[in-house]
């Protein structure tokens, strides 16, 4: 079991993780930006290190500063919380290469599941039902191919960013013309928001319900589900 961990986050999730660490007899190290110096997570941690100015890029998203804090505090592991660097496979890789455990999935899992195209291909390979769509990413140079795939799926289709999240980098298309302009727009938005313009196509399901089943597993082969959650908006 770890003896000391650093929480690379702030706010309520940092507070919850610190409390959980204390319940387990683990020391908790908090990091904070200058804007958060009076925050609760700073107050309840065993140790707190200021890592930068207010903008997240200079603090909570700054991998070098977080690792530096982890080193001077001599922690065994980093808990990323949610948001910020929690889904960043590069961050997980840096942690582990610095001999600091990353409390989260393997780098490989994060890489595959963080890319919707790869994730979908993994699902298909494991015979998990998926909505009809393109087999992989859409070739940006080949609009004819995209139109052909859309017709096979059947309009309306949705163009989605492979690296996307939060509903960005998506466009619905009801015909060939809106498909062409939609692909351009989605690619641009994806490139700007995620640094990756890769898009793919799926059948657009109108009036959908978005239900999640959350699953958690450990290194010893234990896997449990946390029941379902209705995320429909």
């Amino acid at each position: 079991m770890f003896s000391r961990i650093l929480i690379a986050n702030r706010g309520e999730i940092a507070v919850r993780i610190i409390r959980a660490a204390h319940d387990l007899g683990i020391e908790a190290v908090a990091v904070y930006s200058t804007a958060d110096k009076d925050s609760k997570h700073v107050k309840i941690a065993d140790q707190a290190i200021c890592i930068g100015a207010a903008p997240p890029a200079e603090s909570y998203l700054n991998i070098a500063r977080i690792i530096a804090a982890a080193e001077v505090a001599n922690v065994d592991a980093i808990h990323p919380g949610y948001g910020f660097l929690a889904e960043n496979s590069h961050f997980a890789e840096v942690c582990r290469s610095c001999n600091i455990e990353f409390i989260g999935p393997s780098v490989e899992s994060m890489r595959i599941l963080g890319d919707k195209v790869q994730c979908k291909q993994l699902a298909i390979k494991n015979k998990v039902p998926t909505s009809p769509g393109s087999k992989g990413e859409i070739d940006p140079e080949n609009e004819t191919e995209a139109v052909k795939i859309a017709k096979e799926i059947g309009y309306p289709v949705i163009i989605k960013a492979a690296a996307g999240g939060g509903g960005r980098g998506m466009r619905v298309a009801h015909n060939d013309m809106s498909l062409r302009s939609g692909i351009k727009a989605a690619r641009q938005e994806a490139e700007a928001a995620f640094g990756n313009g890769t898009v793919y196509l799926e059948k657009f399901i109108e009036h959908a319900r978005h239900v999640e089943v959350q699953i958690i597993g450990d290194q010893h082969g234990n896997v449990i589900h946390l029941y379902e959650r209705d995320c429909t908006m």
């Binding site: 003896s3 200058t34 110096k37 700073v42 140790q47 707190a48 290190i49 200021c50 890592i51 930068g52 100015a53 070098a64 500063r65 690792i67 530096a68 804090a69 080193e71 001077v72 505090a73 001599n74 610095c98």
Partner: protein
């Protein structure tokens, strides 16, 4: 409660080994000793009443990073401070045998290198960013520092 003789031995051990924190589980309950290694050796004891547990000791090395409250070492005499722009370990010179970059009384320019802050094996040269004379050095060689932590008191020109 632990007896006075043992307590004195623990305090001596902390001072001799430059420890800043010592947590032990004694027969009477857990004991926490805290020592500010920059102050004149004062040790504060925080007794806590909890069920008995076997005696184990966990000592933290003397280079733990200070918390926010420790950074109030003060700019005195109306001077400004040179603050650390990053998290890492403070070194006063480029190598253990080299002369310190900045000593009390030295005059510095904005581009003068005053110290090194090391993080992730990268040795970053920290510049003064201001002109003036070094009045006081607030940190020790090898000490962990955080972002914004005052390193030097400087009397501006």
């Amino acid at each position: 409660m632990v007896d006075l003789k043992t307590l004195k031995q623990l305090i001596k051990m902390m001072v001799d080994n430059d420890l800043t924190e010592l947590d032990i589980q004694a027969e009477g309950g857990p004991i926490k000793l805290r020592r500010n290694s920059q102050a004149a050796g004062g040790v504060q004891m925080i007794p806590m009443a909890q069920p008995a547990a076997p005696a184990t000791a966990a000592a933290a090395p003397g280079q733990t990073a200070p918390t926010a409250s420790d950074t109030d070492n003060g700019d005195d005499e109306g001077g400004e401070t040179i603050d650390s722009p990053m998290v890492g370990t403070f070194y006063e010179a480029s190598s253990p045998d080299a002369k310190a970059f900045a000593s009390v009384g030295d005059r510095v320019d904005p581009d003068s290198v005053v110290c090194i802050v090391e993080a992730m094996k990268v040795f970053n040269e920290i510049k003064a960013e201001t002109s003036g004379t070094i009045v006081k050095i607030l940190v020790e060689n090898g000490q962990a520092v955080e972002f914004g932590q005052p390193l030097y008191v400087i009397k501006p020109d």
